[in-house]
């Protein structure tokens, strides 16, 4: 897929084991400029592990990772911040890179949390914090964005808006995105390439191709397959929420 110059990160048969147990094994994938690669799979299938391998957080890995950029924005799935730190949203935005006030404001406005700029991070709700995390990752105009369930806990309308934002960012900045999501409906409108994980790569390809795949059907069920294959850029379905949903 594409010429080599556009590759931002490439995993070759990558795997990671902890306490003699493989969390994920034999994953090959690549993220290119302007493309969105989505990892799907059941709980414990190694999605977050794969993201951490791509990011270089896990170092003792099987196989290899080739990373061609240092401008990375990361939204982790779980983040525990110690409240012994007095940390405002504004301080958090410049955590890993000093960026201008204009860029901070722009990013916070895009994710709809500019009004929280001077608030203490500990006082935010789950959804608000998630929006701040996304704002922080995009504010530094990264070449590679790794988003591990970036809209968890965000309200329904916000979720759609944020996925549209992610697509927009990918186009405008021409950055590559490695996205992890459980939400097949919303994600697939933007995804260029889907990798379906279950401890290993069970299938990969365009959303339509993956939907037709028998292994995918076995893993997610017939219904999920229909969602994926008939996906058009409309949200005409009823959404059942999982976990925390907050109204603005």
């Amino acid at each position: 897929m594409g010429s080599n110059q556009n590759i931002l990160v490439k995993l070759n048969e990558a795997g990671f084991s902890l306490n003699n147990k493989w969390l994920v094994k034999g994953v090959s994938l690549q993220v290119e400029k302007g493309k969105i690669v989505t990892l799907i799979g059941p709980n414990g299938s190694g999605k977050s592990t794969t993201a951490k391998i791509a990011l270089g957080i896990y170092k003792k890995i099987d196989g290899s990772v080739e990373k061609y950029t240092n401008k990375v924005g990361y939204v982790p799935q779980k983040i525990s911040i110690d409240w012994t730190l007095p940390l405002r949203v504004n301080d958090f935005m410049v955590l890993t890179e000093s960026i201008s006030n204009d860029l901070i404001d722009e990013a916070l406005s895009l994710t709809g949390v500019i009004h929280l700029k001077d608030k203490n991070l500990g006082d935010l709700s789950g959804g608000e914090f998630q929006r701040v995390l996304l704002a922080r990752a995009i504010s530094k105009k990264p070449e590679l964005l790794v988003l591990d369930e970036p809209v968890q806990g965000v309200d329904f309308t916000g979720e759609i808006a944020l996925y549209e934002l992610i697509k927009k960012i990918s186009d405008e900045l021409n950055c590559g995105i490695l996205l992890i999501s459980h939400d097949l409906h919303t994600v697939m409108s933007a995804t260029d390439h889907v990798v379906c994980l279950n401890g290993h790569v069970c299938c990969s390809g365009s959303p339509i191709d993956v939907a037709k795949n028998n292994e995918y059907k076995a893993l997610f069920g017939e219904q999920a397959s229909q969602i994926l294959s008939r996906y058009e850029h409309r949200h005409d379905h009823i959404h059942t929420s999982e976990g925390e949903i907050k109204k603005n």
């Binding site: 957080i57 240092n70 924005g73 990361y74 982790p76 525990s80 911040i81 110690d82 301080d91 890993t96």
Partner: protein
């Protein structure tokens, strides 16, 4: 002017407080107070070695504390013991060895109380140079590693993922801890150095809303503690270390009153 022991102590104390302010914030944020204690305990061994080999105390303490810190990191990798047990093991065994070595050095007169609790009479012009030059170096290194150290304090994986090399920052910070203990041992004494790191920072936490403010208030708190402590040490003829720490405790209690007020305001 530098002939006056009190002026020397004051200059030394101010130098120490400026450095312990920001380092103390990291000790509080990263929950390293017991780690600081361990390094301070091991400092006694450094002091005895310095005496027996007629070596500079600050330098010797720095070397020994750094070695203890590196030993800790190795032990953490190689054993399954919890961190606090390893810290206790290193703290007390190095303290014990230090005391045993003192026993062998019966031909040298030791001022144990001065070592443990600080002695302003003992601060020489050489010590001032060590404190101010060493302190400036510590602050310079801290400024250089601030971004990765702070980012990894907030979240290690974010720092690592976005290319900040937090492991190197952590290793350098460990060395800085050994260095601050080495330069402040004469002022505060080895039993109370961790107090000098933690109490002003804890006071600052109570009254600050951002990390930068916390560092600033921590420095101011440390300076006030040194000045208050040294004057009362002179006035009441008490050891300098405990007087400084008692003064910082006094400031900490004042900061608690501030919290109560702001809670009232919120309601």
């Amino acid at each position: 002017m530098l002939d006056d022991f009190f002026i020397r102590a004051l200059i030394a104390g101010i130098g120490v407080a400026i450095v312990t302010g920001p380092l103390g914030c990291f000790v509080v944020w990263r929950r390293l107070s017991y780690f600081g204690d361990t390094l301070a305990h091991s400092a006694l061994l450094g002091v005895t070695l310095a005496y027996s080999m007629e070596f500079n105390i600050a330098f010797s303490v720095f070397i020994i504390s750094s070695l203890i810190a590196l030993t800790l990191i190795q032990l953490q990798k190689r054993t399954n013991l919890p961190g606090d047990a390893l810290l206790g093991l290193l703290a007390h065994s190095s303290l014990a060895i230090g005391l045993v070595v003192i026993g062998f050095l019966s031909f040298i007169r030791f001022d144990i109380m001065g070592l443990l609790f600080g002695d302003i009479l003992a601060v020489t012009v050489d010590d001032l140079l060590i404190i101010w030059i060493g302190g400036a170096l510590i602050l310079l290194v801290l400024k250089l590693i601030w971004k990765p150290l702070f980012a990894s304090t907030v979240n290690y994986e974010l720092a690592e993922a976005e290319g900040l090399n937090p492991d190197r920052a952590k290793a350098l910070f460990t060395i800085l801890m050994a260095a601050i203990i080495a330069i402040s041992i004469k002022m505060v004494g080895l039993l109370l150095i961790t107090g000098m790191l933690i109490i002003p920072a804890a006071m600052a936490r109570n009254i600050s809303s951002s990390p930068q403010k916390m560092v600033m208030y921590s420095i101011i708190g440390g300076l006030l503690s040194v000045i208050l402590g040294l004057f009362s040490s002179l006035e009441f003829n008490t050891a300098s270390g405990p007087s400084i720490i008692a003064a910082s405790l006094f400031l900490f209690i004042l900061s608690l009153l501030n919290i109560k007020q702001s809670i009232k305001l919120k309601n």
